[in-house]
């Protein structure tokens, strides 16, 4: 229960950050309202909303997070739909770009986790490029363990934090 509350706060905070950053283009300014729906807690909040200007639209936020095992940057089989959806969108829209934001859980040191988050971004980048996406469409960043979406100190929280968020630019 406490975790859920924390999670809602974290989601709100992330949504606020995501909204605040979307100052350059045609992003949906109301994205944050949708992102805090309690029924979809395990999905990320930072994904951009569809712009509606292209034939293949940005995948939904539910299709924008890739999860990882502890201390691993190997893509899991269940991530293939997310990668496929973004590969489809980015290959159909060669001028579109996506940011791959790598994140880790709190275990281990902050400096190592910064590097591990980047390695996870690189793993998603490789998968997208294998599916035909141009490297120039992808920007890799890492937040390390600094931007958790769940604040508990247990596997239930950790598993949500070990992720790459794909954010349309």
């Amino acid at each position: 229960m406490l975790n859920n509350k924390w999670f809602a706060c974290a989601t709100l905070a992330l949504a606020a950050v995501a909204t605040g950053c979307s100052s350059t283009g045609d992003k949906n300014a109301n994205g944050s309202a949708e992102a805090v729906k309690p029924t979809t807690p395990s999905q990320g909040s930072a994904a951009a909303a569809p712009s509606g200007k292209t034939s293949v639209t940005t995948p939904a936020s539910t299709q924008s997070i890739v999860y990882f095992d502890f201390d691993s940057s190997d893509l899991k089989p269940e991530s293939k739909d997310v990668v496929a959806a973004w590969a489809k969108y980015l290959t159909a829209n060669p001028t579109a770009k996506a940011q791959l934001q790598g994140n880790t859980d709190e275990r281990g040191t902050r400096e190592y986790n910064l590097a591990l988050g980047e390695r996870r971004s690189a793993a998603v980048s490789s998968a997208l490029q294998s599916a035909g996406v141009a490297a120039s469409q992808l920007e890799l960043t890492s937040n390390g363990e600094e931007k958790p979406v769940a604040l508990g100190h247990d596997e239930a929280s950790w598993s949500q934090n070990r992720r790459v968020e794909i954010v349309g630019q």
């Binding site: 706060c9 709100l12 905070a13 606020a16 950053c21 201390d71 709190e106 275990r107 281990g108 040191t109 902050r110 400096e111 190592y112 910064l114 590097a115 591990l116 980047e118 390695r119 690189a122 890799l140 960043t141 890492s142 937040n143 600094e146 931007k147 100190h153």
Partner: protein, 430 residues
């Protein structure tokens, strides 16, 4: 013991208004030495009660048990000079050491303290201490200098009371998480803000002269390395390459920083000249290389690499060449930090008990674990190499803890919010 706790609680209550960190001694295997620090002869309304600060310092070290002032009521007057010292009565009170002193206020708000340390059993004076302040804000520091010299005389180890610690706090502020880089005295008093951001701050590292601090900020959404002079607030964005900019570690002469950059594919170490920013790549591996620390002789870099498949500590020459694996115990080892004396390396060890602080004897490679985990990280040595401060996960969030390198004395340092990433500053140069 109960008395001791009460004394400690009272002391904290009276200091809580100013302090940024609440410090408690949570364990001491060694017998603490009873010491009486008699109120010094000083005028009313002065900036600090010097003897009270000396007593609190010694008590907080865990190695001394300072006699409460209430237990000194039988003395009338309390001694402030050698002829007034009545060894038999202090011995009857169980005291082994006695400190008396005088504080003379100087024009301009400064002061001079002269204190004397007595061995109660040998019935003799064993040390005379002098310390000065040039303005009111230096009175606490003057008191810490007195405590440092008493501590060194009685333990053989240089004191760290007159030193400073930087750390990062994180608190919810109107729905957002705010990060602050703070700089406070080693007793948690006199906190001053170095930086604040709604983006994460991490990896503070003091320059060897203690005048500058390098740290990582995510301000603007990406990692950057800042070098700042806390006394003036002046700062420069030192590195802001594409990808990761992290883990700054100074060379002992302060001329270079070893850092982690990832703009050439993945996390590798680079040696950067602080004045010219000219850089040399130190590692070039497909693996993660990060968390460098430079030995006090300036020749060796120890760092984390997962080139073997899991994170372990390696060492190599700062001029480059082969890396040699240092750690083999536990599943992982991270975040090495050389002690200022170069003999020991602190690190974060991971095994079935979680993440704990380990101390590796550099010569033999033997590791001792000195914390209980399960989420400990961020070790930083005190400048006397005898104490390590680190981050642990407490009941109400991240807090700091210290442990003496012999494992005998432990403190917890709590903040109202999360507090972490401690960096103990070097001794100030005279």
């Amino acid at each position: 013991m109960l008395n001791r706790l009460l004394v400690a609680c009272l002391a904290f209550a009276s200091l809580a208004v100013q302090a940024d960190l609440d410090i408690t001694v949570v364990g001491g295997a060694k017998r603490a030495q009873p010491i009486a620090v008699v109120p010094f002869s000083q005028g009313p309304g002065q900036p600090a009660d010097v003897a009270a600060i000396v007593a609190a310092d010694l008590d907080r070290s865990g190695q001394f048990l300072a006699l409460a002032r209430n237990d000194m009521k039988g003395f009338d007057p309390l001694p402030t000079s050698e002829p007034q010292v009545d060894y038999r009565t202090w011995r009857a009170l169980g005291q082994e050491a006695l400190v008396i002193g005088n504080v003379q206020a100087l024009p301009g708000g400064g002061a001079k303290t002269v204190a004397e340390l007595y061995d109660v059993f040998r019935t003799q004076k064993i040390l005379t201490v002098e310390a000065t302040a040039t303005r009111p804000t230096e009175w606490r520091s003057m008191a810490h200098k007195v405590a440092d010299q008493i501590y060194e005389k009685l333990t053989g180890t240089r004191g760290v009371f007159d030193t400073r610690i930087a750390y990062i706090t994180s608190m919810q502020v109107s729905g957002r998480r705010q990060f602050k880089l703070i700089w406070a005295d080693a007793d948690g008093e006199n906190p001053r803000e170095i930086a604040r951001s709604f983006e994460p701050l991490l990896s503070p590292a003091w320059s060897p002269d203690g005048k500058r601090i390098a740290y990582v900020t995510f301000e603007g959404g990406r990692s950057k390395i800042i070098i700042q002079t806390p006394a003036t607030g002046d700062y420069v964005t030192f590195l802001g390459e594409k990808g990761i900019n992290s883990a700054p570690a100074w060379t002992p002469d302060g001329s270079r920083l070893v850092v982690t950059l990832s703009f050439q594919k993945n996390s590798d170490l680079y040696v950067i000249d602080v004045a010219t920013k000219s850089r040399r790549r130190l590692t070039d591996s497909f693996a993660i290389d990060t968390s460098p620390t430079v030995s006090p002789d300036g020749r060796t870099v120890a760092f984390l690499s997962d080139r073997s498949g899991s994170a372990q500590i390696y060492t190599m020459s700062i001029d480059g060449g082969e890396a040699k694996r240092l750690t083999f115990e536990g599943r992982r080892n991270e975040q090495p930090r050389f002690a200022p004396d170069g003999k020991t390396l602190a690190l974060v060890n991971y095994d079935a008990s979680g993440y704990r602080i380990g101390l590796v004897d550099v010569a033999s490679g033997v590791m001792r674990l000195v914390s209980s985990g399960p989420l400990d990280e961020g070790p930083s040595f005190a400048p006397n190499s005898a104490v390590v401060i680190y981050t642990r996960q407490g009941g109400s969030g991240a807090e700091l803890a210290t442990v003496s390198t012999d494992g005998s004395v432990r403190q917890r340092l709590r903040h109202t919010g999360d507090v972490r990433e401690p960096a103990w500053a070097p001794y100030a140069k005279p």
